[in-house]
């Protein structure tokens, strides 16, 4: 199941990191800080998105490559199919989750 859920776990990690950092920033009052001219929340959303996307795409492509080799037993190939299909879903979920935070201009609200 981990093999299948790898991409979505990357999304979940992204979600968790952004949620925790945003909660801390808003609760502790540093959400209005700007990093390189970008507000904290959009900065976090973009900075965490890049590694999450990289891991997800890498996992999905690895699974796709394995699934195409056609040498593994059918059960393993199915796990690889789940790996790349859920990886593709995770890429969409990452973009969808990141979008609202990236559109915020300032602060928490």
């Amino acid at each position: 199941m981990l093999r299948a859920w790898g991409g979505l776990l990357a999304w979940a990690s992204y979600f968790l990191v952004v949620y925790v950092l945003v909660a801390l920033a808003c609760e502790r009052g540093f959400a209005d800080a700007r990093i390189g001219g970008v507000a904290f929340v959009p900065f976090v959303a973009i900075a965490a998105l890049l590694p999450a996307l990289a891991v997800t795409v890498w996992l999905a492509l690895s699974a796709l490559r394995r699934a195409r080799l056609d040498v593994a037993p059918a059960g393993s190939r199915f796990a690889d199919f789940l790996g790349w299909a859920l990886g593709a879903l995770a890429v969409l979920a990452l973009a969808w989750t990141a979008l609202p935070s990236m559109l915020l201009r300032t602060g928490c609200n």
Binding site: G75, F78, A93
Partner: protein, 840 residues
């Protein structure tokens, strides 16, 4: 021609078949008379479990009708305000905890073995324990309303209402009672996960699992990660109520929102835990009723795995109105909309299957069509509520009541009623009444929409949920009257189904029917021992692909046609490719699960009313029952291997990661870890919301020197268990004993050092939420150290009794996993408790 078309063996001569059948019957037939209730077989336990949940459904339904009578007209006094509070609380709690969740477990325990073509799930006594715990707990909780002692704070029990303003035992009953029922749910999940992963027939690779198996697997895994947060939350709220530990008291550093986070971390995945198995039933029924394989099997699996995971990122959408920053709310709003995508994939797959097949319009099909209409509407209003500004308007109104009933009744009740009509012939050998079924479906569909659609309107008109009554002139009268009439029509439909069941469902001995011409394994001829032999499978619809399979299996031409070991047994296969691994000997009828369930229930409910000594007695009874039951559950390995068919010989004992026991312990440790993670989350949450420094001055931190001692102790305990493992492998009993005793002492030393440091520093659990959070973490760790000590004594007793050895080592492997986990958890506890010093 698929390999299914080839029987594994020639049909044995008649006298051999009769002898095999006689031995199977001797092993698997249930006891007679009053001893029947000591049976632990899935078919008996699953049947009782299902009947019990239906009984609770009726009870919860009657409570709903009482509410609807009260709200039918403005200014009504049919129920008193206090009674009304108890009625809506018990209605919601019963429907969630005693119906929606256990119904999926009950149906799965009943149906999963036949779906998978296996004789039995791997832990039958665990299922029986869960059943008895559920029965006793459920009756006690439901019965409390008859004595006016029921909880009255709503099914999600928000503090401070439940922590400060509910002095009676109702809230304790809820917190302890439902925690206990959650334990039963987790027990069932262990059984179902290992069942799907390790009890499939040979050849049923993961790409061939019947979709219900996939749905159950995902829902059961979700239970492991969702329920622990509620267990942790209930623990904290009960600690506040009983011992004044102020987790939720803002005057002492607590925060009521912590409860909402913990509750909805459980509560939102729970919606999918309820819906997914219902969707699994739909997937099975749609394919048969359309007489074609489900369109997009692979994508449906993708969708349900995606739904399962994304559903853990939605909990805050129940909290949009509590004043969270918009930046946080937007994350959850996005995830709430995103989850509708995989849900939509499933709906389109079902529609495409129906569109491209030849649909038989029997009663199950009508219920499925009703499910589509109702559930999709519930899903759409869910997307509306995911939009933050709309949620602010509709929050806590009848609009939300309408939404959640469309989701739960559409997503769970209609599929289950379809399942009742679809699978009844598997139990009694003949279908229920088509005429009564269609009438019932019509009444339920009309009644459901008449009852709940008007609630959208009354909600948008501003009617808040949970009001005891309302004045005339607000425009709510018509909608409420319609809802009441609809509720009674819905109840009439349910009553008609019950009547049909009473009149026509008679469990038969051997059942040999396939009335819907289904392609899946549950329609093999079934007897008390399940199918006569365990089929080899190489397609998703084996009965369609090989029309002779039913006869071959029934003639004993596949695996395990008789008893290989002379006891109840089943095949264990590998999780991905379903290759045969070993023969699992299964326990037979026993009163021990009932005894353990009774003891556990006594413990929890005696605590509720603060009868401490009776609680201790209950705990002792539970411990006795569980230890006696476990003592026999790791029997001496049988020498050699056993022929299971097709020339394959398998051992009848397995250790390590191939063993079902190893998997079960890992699954349970995931639950433990999830509870612990919830406690860590609680600590960090309280830290985050605390204004200023943490801990707030002048509250102290424990001394770091004690942490150093504890770290050394835990690491040394890890070395000791490794040493014990080597001693066992070398059959050195004395060294093994020494290593285990020394290691357990080191664990205790490490924990006591950490705990002592907190006490010496003057960290008080009652003074501030900081102290309460620290002591909660330490108490959880202490519980595990005590558990390791008990299991160590147990393992040493088995060693002394000659029931532990180099080959016979499952009990030791279990202890080792628990030990590793406890030491690791201890180290993380130290890191968390001392983290303010590091951060500072």
């Amino acid at each position: 021609m698929t390999p299914d078309a080839e029987p594994l063996e020639e049909a044995p001569p008649l006298e051999v078949r009769q002898a095999q059948e006689a031995r199977l019957h001797a092993a698997w037939n249930p006891p007679t008379g009053w001893r029947y209730f000591s049976e632990v077989n899935n078919s008996a336990v699953g049947m009782w479990y299902t009947a019990l949940t239906v009984a609770f459904l009726v009870f919860g339904g009657v409570l709903a009708l009482l509410m609807r009578i009260q709200l039918a007209v403005p200014g009504n006094t049919f129920l008193s305000p206090e009674t009304y509070n108890q009625v809506f609380t018990v209605h919601g709690s019963v429907m969630m905890f005693l119906v929606a969740i256990p119904l999926f477990e009950a149906i799965s325990i009943l149906f999963l073995p036949p779906f998978l073509g296996t004789r039995e799930l791997p832990f039958p006594r665990l299922s029986a324990f869960g059943l008895w715990a559920f029965l006793i707990g459920g009756v006690f909780l439901s019965g409390s309303i008859l004595f006016g002692a029921a909880p009255n704070g709503g099914w999600f029990m928000y503090p401070p209402l439940t922590s400060r303003y509910e002095p009676g035992i109702g809230a304790d009953m809820w917190l302890l009672g439902f925690s206990f029922i959650e334990v039963a749910a987790i027990a069932a999940s262990v059984e179902l996960i290992i069942g799907v992963l390790k009890s499939r027939p040979v050849g049923m690779r993961i790409n061939l699992i019947p979709l219900y198996g996939w749905y159950v697997l995902v829902a059961a895994v979700m239970v492991l990660f969702a329920f622990p947060s509620l267990i942790a939350g209930s623990l904290l709220l009960e600690l506040e109520r009983a011992f004044d530990w102020p987790f939720f008291d803002p005057t002492r550093g607590g925060d009521p929102l912590l409860w909402q986070h913990l509750f909805w971390l459980f509560g939102h995945p729970d919606v999918y835990i309820i819906f997914l198995p219902g969707a699994g039933l739909v997937s099975m029924i749609v394919a048969t009723m359309a007489q074609r394989p489900l369109v997009g099997y692979r994508w449906v699996v993708v969708a349900l795995l995606g739904t399962g995971l994304v559903s853990f990122a939605l909990w805050v959408h129940h909290m949009f109105a509590v004043g969270l920053p918009h930046a946080s709310a937007s994350l959850f709003s996005a995830a709430s909309m995103a989850v509708s995508v995989p849900a939509g994939i499933q709906v389109f797959a079902w529609l495409a299957t129906l569109r491209s097949g030849r649909v038989r319009l029997a009663t199950p099909t009508w219920f499925i069509l009703g499910f589509f209409g109702i559930f999709v509407l519930g899903g759409l209003t869910g997307v509306m509520l995911a939009v933050v500004p709309f949620d602010w308007q509709a929050h806590d109104t009848y609009f939300v009541v309408a939404h959640l009933h469309y989701v739960v009744i559409g997503g769970m009740v209609f599929p289950v009623f379809a399942a009742i009509y679809y699978w009844a012939p598997m139990i009694s050998g003949k279908p229920l009444s088509e005429r009564m079924g269609k009438w019932a479906c019509g009444l339920m569909f009309v009644g459901m929409n008449a009852a709940f659609f008007p609630m959208h309107v009354s909600g948008l008109l501003g009617m808040p949920r949970r009001v005891w009554t309302y004045p005339a002139g607000l425009g709510w009268e018509l909608w409420n009257l319609l809802s009441t009439v609809g509720a009674f029509v819905l109840a009439a439909g349910v009553a008609l189904v019950l009547l049909d069941l009473l009149l026509h469902l008679r469990p038969a001995g051997k059942v040999d029917v396939n009335p819907w011409n289904a392609g899946t394994l549950e329609w093999l001829p079934l007897d008390t021992y399940a199918s006569r032999s365990i089929p080899r499978v190489s397609s998703r619809d084996p009965l369609w692909d090989n029309p002779r399979l039913r006869d071959e299996v029934d003639a004993g031409q596949h695996y395990l046609p008789g008893l290989a070991t002379g006891e109840r047994e089943t095949l264990v296969t590998s999780p991905i490719e379903a290759e045969p691994q070993y023969l699992l000997r299964l326990p037979g009828p026993s009163w021990l699960p009932l005894l353990a369930g009774l003891g556990t229930a006594t413990f929890f409910f005696a605590l509720t009313v603060k009868w401490v000594w009776i609680a201790v007695g209950g705990a002792a009874l539970a411990l006795f029952g569980i230890v006696r039951w476990l003592w026999a559950s790791d029997p001496r390995p049988l020498a050699g291997s056993f022929e299971v068919g097709d020339g394959i010989r398998l051992p009848a004992y397995m250790t390590g990661s191939r063993s079902h026991a190893w998997w079960a312990v890992v699954v349970l440790l995931l639950v433990e870890g999830s509870v612990f993670a919830s406690l860590v989350f609680s600590y960090l949450f309280l830290w985050t919301v605390a204004p200023g420094a943490w801990p707030p001055a002048p509250l102290p931190l424990p001394e770091p020197a004690a942490a150093g001692v504890a770290v050394v102790g835990y690491v040394a305990a890890l070395v000791a268990i490794s040493w014990a493992g080597r001693a066992l492998a070398a059959s050195h009993s004395r060294t093994l004993t020494l290593a285990l005793v020394a290691g357990a002492a080191l664990l205790a030393l490490a924990f006591s050092s950490d705990w002592r440091a907190a006490l010496d520093a003057g960290i008080d659990a009652r003074r501030h939420a900081y102290g309460a959070a620290v002591h909660a973490l330490l108490a959880w760790q202490g519980l595990h150290v005590a558990l390791v000590a008990i299991v160590t004594v147990y393992v040493l007793a088995r060693l002394r009794a000659g029931l532990l050895g180099r080959e016979h080592r499952v009990t030791f492997d279990t202890l080792r996993l628990l030990w590793l986990y406890t030491a690791a958890q201890g180290l993380v506890t130290i890191a968390v408790v001392h983290s303010p010093r590091i951060v500072a």
